[in-house]
């Protein structure tokens, strides 16, 4: 069957006959097609006129008040007919039920269900000879193997232990049911685990070709390639046992260790130079601007190689006090999608955007630019925004996209006037899993307003998850992906976390100060 044209979709939209998928198509087309937007506006206007005319006609001719939408009519029950067909159907159902019960009684005991897939992209589950496309709600059993593709990711939650696993691209995991608990065998790729230990429950053991990891309630990541296994621990303790060659190492929070043949097994601090007294738990990306470079390196290995690249090198300047200054319209963004950031935040349903910056001045709409101007944004374009910190005049504007009960919702909040002035300032936006959104300026929470008539509050709660986030989103500074929302000013530091920093942690990062050359 031929795909419906955009004209058909538009007509169906106004007739209330448009499916959710068609609405998505319409939204996407509207975002990029000015002529279509104009048609939509005109159609809306015409229909409003027809509505007014028709209401007046109905009132004038029938002298009856315009009635409200009636309740849906109940279908009239048809008289019951005890036909032969009905009897045969009933008899067949009985036979099927009896056979079903007998089959169930004879069927072998199904393998133990271990975990449920929360989210998956480009991922397969290998079960015996079957290959099942991983999707939300799929139950993983002992013996199953998960394989993710080059752009794949998968998040799952264990049933019996409070453990959450996030698998990255090109990752192979096997779920083994060993006598003394659960074993997760990682043969390739990278996983992150968030394990909460409770009395009487054994956390899963992670097995790789080079090591065995005993977990003691923690947040950590394991990366495996053909040569080595690397463990990064952000919280708690992991006991790392090297398999070929022997030896064990206790890896504590803020440390990493590598298990590889012919290499000493020792813990080392994660990002010793980048952290500088700042919070590292949950850190995905950290950028400092104290060294001029063609590409600004992500100092956090957990986030992967998310280097920021200035699009127009003539529009930027490196300041002597360790800042990157945007002097003219440009954008500084990751070369490709910031998949590691998006996937991690979607798994935790939390995010923190943080920056040390100095706005050039109050940002007002220009001929080429719209508002809010983008300070830091994680998005695929102005219409597929995941979250951002922006500026409009002398106020900060923050936006977070969430999904609540299947519906895409937006938190579009602003700080009070005169909060974004041309001075060195520390800004942080946090969104916690239960929905609380906060914005901090210089380590202190500021009031946020959602609408002109809403009462300002230091915490705005917008419940939901991040399932409507675009996985093709890039991290960008100084403009929106695709342009049009330019911001001018200086950056000293930018950081992204996959969790909501607490007020104390934000204050700690503020006290750590901006990096200086």
């Amino acid at each position: 069957m031929a795909e419906p044209s955009i004209e058909d979709i538009l007509a169906r939209y106004f007739d209330g006959a448009c499916s959710a998928a068609e609405k998505e198509v319409l939204c996407a087309r509207l975002s990029e097609d000015r002529a279509l937007r104009r048609r939509l506006i005109r159609e809306g206007r015409l229909r409003a006129e027809i509505r007014q005319w028709a209401k007046a006609e109905v009132t004038a001719h029938s002298h009856a008040a315009v009635r409200k939408r009636p309740a849906a009519r109940l279908p009239v029950a048809s008289p019951r007919r005890a036909s032969w067909a009905r009897r045969i159907t009933l008899a067949a159902a009985c036979v099927v039920a009896v056979l079903g019960v007998r089959f169930l009684l004879r069927a072998p005991v199904p393998p133990r269900a271990l975990a449920t897939v929360q989210r998956a992209r480009d991922a397969l589950v290998a079960r015996a000879d079957e290959r099942i496309t991983a999707a939300h709600g799929l139950t993983l059993c002992a013996g199953d193997r998960v394989l993710t593709g080059t752009r794949g990711a998968l998040a799952l939650e264990y049933h019996d232990v409070a453990a959450r696993v996030l698998a990255g691209a090109q990752t192979h995991i096997a779920f083994n049911n060993i006598p003394d608990g659960l074993q997760l065998e990682l043969t390739r790729g990278r996983i992150e685990l968030d394990v909460q230990v409770a009395p009487g429950l054994k956390p899963p053991v992670v097995l790789t070709p080079h090591a065995r990891l005993q977990v003691a309630g923690t947040r950590f990541a394991v990366a495996v390639d053909s040569q080595e296994t690397r463990v990064d621990v952000w919280q708690g303790v992991v006991c790392l046992e090297r398999l070929p060659g022997g030896g064990t190492e206790r890896v504590t929070a803020g440390q990493y260790a590598v298990a590889a043949p012919n290499r000493p097994l020792a813990s080392r601090p994660i990002e010793p130079t980048a952290a500088g007294g700042r919070v590292t738990n949950g850190l995905l990306a950290l950028y400092r601007f104290d060294q001029p470079a063609a590409a600004i390196r992500n100092l956090c290995s957990r986030g992967g190689s998310l280097d920021l690249i200035p699009q127009d090198r003539d529009a930027i300047a490196w300041l002597p006090d360790g800042a990157l200054s945007l002097r003219r319209t440009t954008v500084v963004k990751t070369a490709g999608p910031a998949a590691r950031i998006t996937d991690s935040c979607m798994a935790t349903r939390e995010v923190t955007l943080e920056a040390w910056l100095r706005p050039a001045g109050p940002h007002v709409a220009t001929v080429s630019g719209r508002l809010p101007a983008r300070v830091v944004t994680l998005s695929g374009g102005p219409h597929t925004l995941n979250c951002m910190i922006g500026q409009e005049r002398d106020q900060l504007r923050v936006r977070v996209n969430v999904r609540h009960q299947g519906v895409k919702r937006w938190a579009a909040l602003s700080t009070p006037p005169a909060t974004a002035t041309p001075r060195l300032m520390h800004v942080a936006l946090t969104r916690a899993v239960y929905g609380a959104i906060r914005c901090y300026i210089d380590g202190q929470p500021v009031t946020l307003k959602e609408e002109p008539e809403d009462a300002p509050n230091k915490t705005i709660v917008v419940t939901g998850d991040f399932e409507t986030w675009s996985t093709a989103s890039a991290l960008a500074l100084g403009n929106e992906i695709g342009g049009d929302r330019e911001w001018l000013g200086d950056y000293y530091l930018v950081a992204v976390y996959d969790r909501a920093l607490t007020p104390r942690e934000v204050a700690r990062n503020y006290r750590a100060g901006p990096p200086r050359r």
């Binding site: 939209y13 028709a54 938190a411």
Partner: protein, 178 residues
């Protein structure tokens, strides 16, 4: 003219513009009118003589109301919300559309053309738009199949498009479709 009378006049003057804008987001007349009522309440509460551009100010309120409608009263899994960016863009472009003034003659032509719709088509139009029935309900009311209602509405729309074009003495595609 008193302040209240002036405000009423302003609201009535821009009523269809705002309704049209809201309708682009909701596609449903009842929802659009509910939102429009909230917009009017806010306008009455907040209106002051200092507001220079009433049209832009009212559109901004309509935009906020649409966003808060979707945020607070999610209407189930089939609802796809336009992004705030798209709502901004549509608000800006709706204002520009009004400013062009091209719709005013079209509106007059439309009213003339609507008078030419007769018989069953007129009954359908009044059921759908006058009484605000959904297509399903309108199908029951005029004793047509749902598909026949969709086809009927589509034909009425084509007729109106042609008629407006004739009334305006235009030939060829509409500027908006060019």
């Amino acid at each position: 003219m008193s302040g209240a009378a002036e405000l009423t006049k302003l609201i009535l003057q821009h009523q269809n513009m705002m309704l049209g804008y809201i309708l682009t987001h909701t596609a449903d007349h009842f929802t659009a009118e509910d939102i429009f009522q909230e917009v009017c309440t806010t306008i009455c509460e907040k209106y002051s003589d200092e507001i220079e551009n009433f049209k832009a100010w009212a559109m901004q309120i309509a935009r906020y109301k649409i966003l808060s409608y979707y945020r607070d009263k999610g209407r189930g899994p089939d609802v796809v919300q336009l992004t705030p960016e798209l709502a901004d863009t549509l608000a800006e472009e709706s204002l520009a559309f009004e400013k062009e003034g091209s719709f005013s003659p079209e509106r007059h032509a439309l009213l003339k053309c609507l008078a030419k719709v007769k018989g069953k088509n007129r009954a359908l139009l009044l059921k759908r738009y006058g009484e605000g029935l959904s297509c399903k309900e309108a199908a029951r009311a005029v004793n047509w199949t749902l598909n026949a209602v969709y086809v009927g509405l589509s034909r009425i729309r084509s007729f109106l498009e042609k008629c407006i074009r004739t009334e305006l003495g235009r030939q060829g595609p509409w500027p908006s479709q060019a």
